[in-house]
Every structure is written in C-alpha cells, then in structure tokens.
Amino acid sequence: MHLTREEEKMYDGEEGLAVEKCMEILVALGDIYGAEKLVPITSAQISGVSYKTIGDAGLEFIEELSNDARVRVPSTLNPAGVDLKIWKELGFSEEFTKKQLAIVDAYQKMGISATCTCTPYLVGNVPTFGSHIAWSESSAVCYANSILGARTNREGGPGALSAAICGRTANYGYHLDEGRRPNLFVDLETAVEGSDFGAIGYMVGNNIGGGIPYFKFKRTPSTDQLKWLGAALASSGSVALYHVENITPESKWAAKIVSDDKIEKLIVNKADINETKIKLSTTEEKPDLICVGCPHASLEEIKRVSETVAGLKLENMLWVCTSISVKASADRMGYTEIIENAGGKMVCDTCMVVAPIEELDYKVVGVDSAKAANYVPNMCGLDVVYNDLKNLIIEKK
C-alpha cells in the first residue's frame, strides 16, 4: 500500500506509540482488503463500548490507549451497557456500571464525544454527501452510506478507533464507486408501514448477505422507516448500503445500473412480510418488558410512542431507548411525562441488545425492531416477540 511521507512518519512511530499502532492497524486492514492507499476522513463513529461485549480485555486496551491517544476528527460513541445516569433505578449492578463508566471515561479522554448512541446522525454527527468516514455500528453505517451518501466500510471497533486517531482509513470497498453498485432489485408489490420495514430488511438481508439492494417502494418511506429497514438489513445480512428509487442520493446513478446490467429481481408481497414477522418472534407469550428504540428513537418516534400510551396504565414495563440529546427534547415537549405516567421509562445511552438485561428479572422482551428481534435471543438468552408497539402493550385491569 502506498503511504504519503507524513503517513510513513506516523507508521514509523515519529508521532508516538499510539499513532504508530493505529497506523499499523490501518495498513494491515488495507493490505488485507487490497487498498492502494489511505484516505482522509471527516468523521468517526466508534463501537466496542458496552462492557457486556468488550469485557475486561476491551477495558484494559481502551484505558491503556487513552494515556496518549487523541482523535483527529469529530468522533462519537456507540451505546454503552447501562443508562449512565439512572442505571440503579433500572436494576443494573454497581459492579457492571463501574467498569462501564471506566470505559466511557477512557474514550472521552481520547476526545471522543460520549454520545453513547447508535444514531450519531440524530445528534450532530452528520457527514456530507460523498465524504469519507470511518463508522462502526452496522445500522449507522447503513444509514450514512445510503441516506446521507457518505462513504464508509463496516469498520470494527478497533478499526474505527484507529482511523479516528490517525484521521484516515484504508481506501477500499464502499469508499470506491465500484463498491457501491447495486446487485439485487427488490420490488415491493404492496404498500408497507410500521414493523413491515424491519421484516423486509430482515428478509432481504438474509437473501443478499453482503450485497447491495435497490428498493422500489409504492409510497415514500420516512427517514425513521428507512432507519429500521437499514438496521435489519445490516443485522440479518452484512449490508452496508442500499438504494431506494427516487429517494436516496445515489439512486439515479444506481437506477441506470439496475436497468443496464439486468440484475436479479426479488418481488416481495404482503404474505412474505407477514411470514417473516412470525419467524422473528421466538414465543407467542406476551412480553413483560417492551423495548422500543432500536436503533435509538428519534423525537418523532418518541412522539408516536407517547400518543400510543397516553392515558393508559401499562401492565408490562416499557423502555424507550434513545440518546440524552433526543431525550432532552422529549422532556421539553412533554412526551417523557406522558410515557412515565403510563409506567414506562426513557432509557438513555444503552439498548436491549448491549445492556445485560438477562441479569434483570424479565423473561419475554417485546420489540418493534427486527434488528433487536434478531439479536436479543442470542445476546441476552431471552424470548422475543416482534410486533408494532400497539400490539405489544397490555393495559392494567
């Protein structure tokens, strides 16, 4: 791989051990994937935050690195394993939380904003069209590539962190035009809404693996709906980019490839979607914990949740997962109060996938996210029910 003179110096340790290690990681990744050079980045999103996933091994590494590493580009952080403020109220242990706070502190020390959200694009980390970035967190990668038209591979935690510290990443895959060509045309024969989007993403992700789907919808989807679609695509498959006819910024370019290249076509009808929804549930029992906000809820989604539960008293616990920034707006708008009056809680910084909810006393988790439905059984060992919120709630008699 070709390195500039400045990059050579970084690689040889002239800017310290942390930069040297990180450059070594970027060059190794570049060699493995056949990159010819590094490319400067404008933003990073760093995963590998929850103590549940990275454990003591991760904590030790991040703490040591934080002694002399600093990020060179605006960088945001993925969700942690607990709500950093109300962890006790939610039932999380002090032991876990102590380790969790140490991880977040170490990242903060490196100059990374402790946003603790999987939706950096809702809290000000919004890369421009065509910009090169290094994001880890598969759902955010899908959003940045598809909806914003920025360019990132599905970085791992250490790769994204190295890129943030060096201000560069290896130039291959989704950074290149060639890596962004669609290779499956998905035609939605039916109008879709709500939890349909997650089910479609889950189904197509399974079908396409690491490919690039091109969707044609009957009605224009909202950004929230596209967020659910992308999160599901990225969890059942390893999709990093999709195009939507007349909606996403590269769709005109992609449409030409679809018509010129005669790519494979997948027709999706209502029956397929319904069948997938049933498959996503592992039980028919009613959930004792409902978790919405995977990926983290937008203000608009929280508004809808508050409308659904307004005036009710819920039998099941309800968590609305989001970032502290979005929660601040929800507080001001009065949505938080409505949700809390119904017995629900606004949960920040974490979610049902990376929090150790298996340590709490819940048995069945209700979700409206196909990504969450896909991960909760394996990551938490709990049963899961997939449906729209209105079908998950049980009113107190």
């Binding site: 290690k21 190794a28 493995i32 590998g48 091994a57 030790e60």
Partner: protein, 162 residues
Amino acid sequence: MNTKVTEINLLTEKFLYPQIKVLTMESKIIKCRKISKGYAEGEVILTKDPLSFLGGVNPKKGIVIDSKHELYNKNIAGKVLFIPSGKGSTVGSYVLYQMAKNKTAPLAIVALEAEPIIATGAIMAGIPMVDRPEEEILDLVHNGDIVAVDADSGFIKILKTS
C-alpha cells in the same frame, strides 16, 4: 576452497556455538507478507482449523477451549501459532491483547490469509504476525519445530525440525 580450513571452522563452531551450528545447517527461509511488526523465535503449534479467540481460547491460561477445534485442550502460550485464518467476533482482537498482558499469548502468528480480527488483535498486542507464506507452510512445518518469524522483513525461517 580450502577444505581443511572449513573443517576447522566447523569444529570450532560446533564447540563454541553448538546452537548456531544447527541453525546454519538446517535453516530454510520462506517469504511472507508483513502484518504486525516484530521478531520472535519459538516452538511451532499448528492447526488446519480457523481459530476464534473469543470463546475459543481461555485468555487466562492460553488453552484452546473450543471442543470442536483441532487444538482443543492444547496450550498456545509462548508458541509460534500457525493457522489458516481467524474467525468469529471482533471482540477476539481485545482477547488477544488481554492474553499478551497475561503472558498467555502466542509468541508470533503465521496465517495463510490474515483476516481483520486476528490481524488487529496481533498489532494491539504487539505480537509479530505474517501471512501469505510463499510455500505450503502447513505441510512444511510440524508441531515442535523451532522457527523464527521476522515480521519486520517479512519471512519465516525454519531453525530446527523436530
């Protein structure tokens, strides 16, 4: 060439530096691609199964705990690990780092084809690593052989066959 002198030299070498004698007699050099900087010499432990460090290896002891793996119950600590590639979760990179801190990590890693998890982990942990050896390395080296891995220059040297 003076045969006598050579003989004397060999005798002197054998007497003074018995180990080096063995090295010069049997060493074979195989070119590789550099992945993680460094140099190490040690005993070979080899497998034809890809290895996952998360859940596959006990980081406190360096023992392979994946019961389906060829190296099940074997200790990889302090050895030169030959693998086809890595697999599994990205958290495996941190596990390799933790093993280095616990002094249970392999001395060096040789992969047929490096993948991001082990490559990143080896660099984080400061473990020399190379890949793409130019010969059929998994047939050429055997458990117990002594090899040198030079990841700064990009080659492996077989120092002693078992």
